[in-house]
Symmetry: none
Subunit: 191 residues, 4 copies
DNA sequence: AATGAATGAGCGTTCATTCAT
DNA sequence: AATGAATGAACGCTCATTCAT
């Protein structure tokens, strides 16, 4: 077998795996982890159940890989930011960035919240969660400390919680939720 | 059968029904609607599955009745408030009240959020949701209009979203979350 | 519900459980543990798969209960024998008894041997096996010691092995195997 | 392609086939025919599943070829013996030879017994079994006839059965079983 | 009012086998 | 000669729901 053919195999495998994961994410978000069946996912992805188990060890493994892939990419993003030079403009940028992510990946965030409140599935994100939260809040704590506000830690956690809440409301009703006005209010209140 | 005996039967029925609903709420919150089985609920409630189906038409009906009962009691609470006389002190009171509710019924709110993000289960709350949200936000919109802020509607919805987000974070980690400091910050920012 | 009705429930349960176990034994013997499917057993027993899982925790539990029930009844039998008074006539009796058991329960012994040689299923008998072998050989060792033969332990184990081998050959071909003549030869050689 | 190259291909093919069969025998013996998967065998043999199906028509065919190859080699062995000159020393030799075979190929004999007691798999050995048993017992019947014992046929079948039983016990517990003493006892009792 | 035996559809998963490359 | 992606039927098992008692 030529190297070229081998490379094609690998490429096909990667593409198909990514496609299955994208399909599974959609269905998990819509039906929740327990409400989604492997058969549904396989059917919508246009593959047999057997093949799905060639790519993923189990339904849980499929979920885990989806979660890890996305959370890891976010953790990387925040690592690149420089806490030192983070100023009021960056905070506005962060808030905008948060909603860009959600607009880009609404399925993922819906799934993410559903896992948060579902202890049986919590284990899938448990391992990554502290790392993810820390990456997100570290910069903010530093920022509020430099500004000399009363409770910098509480401020940072509050902003995190606020973004969660606004995101949740936006996900539930993207059209009816006055996102732009709310972003302005947020920047005023938290800068 | 004497009327007195009939009344006793009715009372027993009501008590047992309430007990099953309380048990089911606990298990639904812990395992999610799909992760909980009717057998689990019946066993923990100390009744047979058959009897459970005597009280509730289906597992879905059981969930629906839990949701409706709790949301209705909240809607009633907000109706009693007078929007006209709502001032800055009442806003602090509202924020405190919100967390009192969650502390009192953490199971319910966990279940509530899990249903919010699970479209397949959304139908169970869909009917009550607008009524619930309106009851909650009407007072705030009136309040912000009287204060003459820029976007009174957005302000009200933002505060609703903020309470959702803070509640979610508090539910997920009641001990580690700095609730008291955050309540102070909230009152400062939203009064 | 009257005590009589309750008793009937229990009786029905016991009878049905015994019936399922008898059916399962037949199918396990014929197809081996792995070759038999729960569906087959349920169908032949005339019950639904679901009901079978009401009676038994798993396919393995079903097998285990079959094995334990039969082996326990044999261990009890041997306990009743008195090693002290065991003489040449008793040895003839033991040999006859061995084949009476096999004639009575050929399915069980077929299953038993198939489990012996199938490490994956060995765990099901492992717990009971030493107890069973000891019950069977203890009497023989005592007997051969009193007779003053060269290797009493080896004699006892040899007789055990011989009975295994003869049983196996008899099970495989009950009609063609000259069991009566062989019993005579055995008694001559091992008394 | 030169004849020499063709021959090399053939040799490679034969060697690989033998290697797959040896690997399969090990796994069949360890996990039983049904408990072993083709994937396991291919992986342990270091070939792809596809290639395995190039050498063998099916999993059953693989088993059949293993059984036939080994049984045929034994039938040949017994054919070479001369029934006419078979005396008491030869009988001792036969008993020793039996255990040499088992020590050499314990995997095969374990698999063999497991197939004997599994009617669904019996078809794989059915064709060869009479030939195999006859080859084994013919010499013994002649021997016992010449000695003028009561039931020469039963004597021969008894010795066959005894060897089965002793072999089974030895396979199950090679270290704990007093094989040497038992061989002595066997020779005394059956010469 | 209360039981629990009973069902059947569907679940997650495995695996012998095929076939394009 | 050799690969491994792909299939589909069957597996062990669960569970909401029903119903005779």
């Amino acid at each position: 077998m030529s190297p070229r053919t081998q490379k094609q195999f690998k490429e096909i495998r990667e593409e198909k795996k990514a496609m299955i994961m994208a399909t599974a994410l959609e269905i998990f978000a819509e039906k929740s982890f327990l409400g989604a069946s492997v058969s549904m996912i396989a059917k919508k992805a246009g593959v047999s159940k057997g093949l799905l188990y060639n790519y993923f060890e189990s339904k849980e493994d499929l979920l885990q890989q989806i979660i890890f892939q996305t959370l890891d990419s976010f953790i990387e993003l925040f690592d690149e930011s420089k806490a030192e030079s983070f100023d009021e403009n960056d905070l506005a940028g962060l808030i905008n960035f948060n909603f860009d992510l959600i607009k880009k990946d609404p399925h993922f965030w819906k799934l993410y919240v559903s896992l948060l409140v579902q202890p049986a599935a919590f284990k899938f994100i448990e391992a990554k969660l502290p790392e993810f939260i820390e990456a997100f809040t570290k910069i903010l704590v530093t920022y509020y400390q430099k500004k000399g506000v009363k409770y910098p830690e509480a401020q940072a956690r509050l902003l995190g919680a606020v973004l969660d809440g606004v995101s949740l409301n936006y996900i539930l009703d993207p059209k009816g939720f006055p996102l732009e006005e709310i972003k302005q209010l947020l920047i005023e209140k938290f800068k």
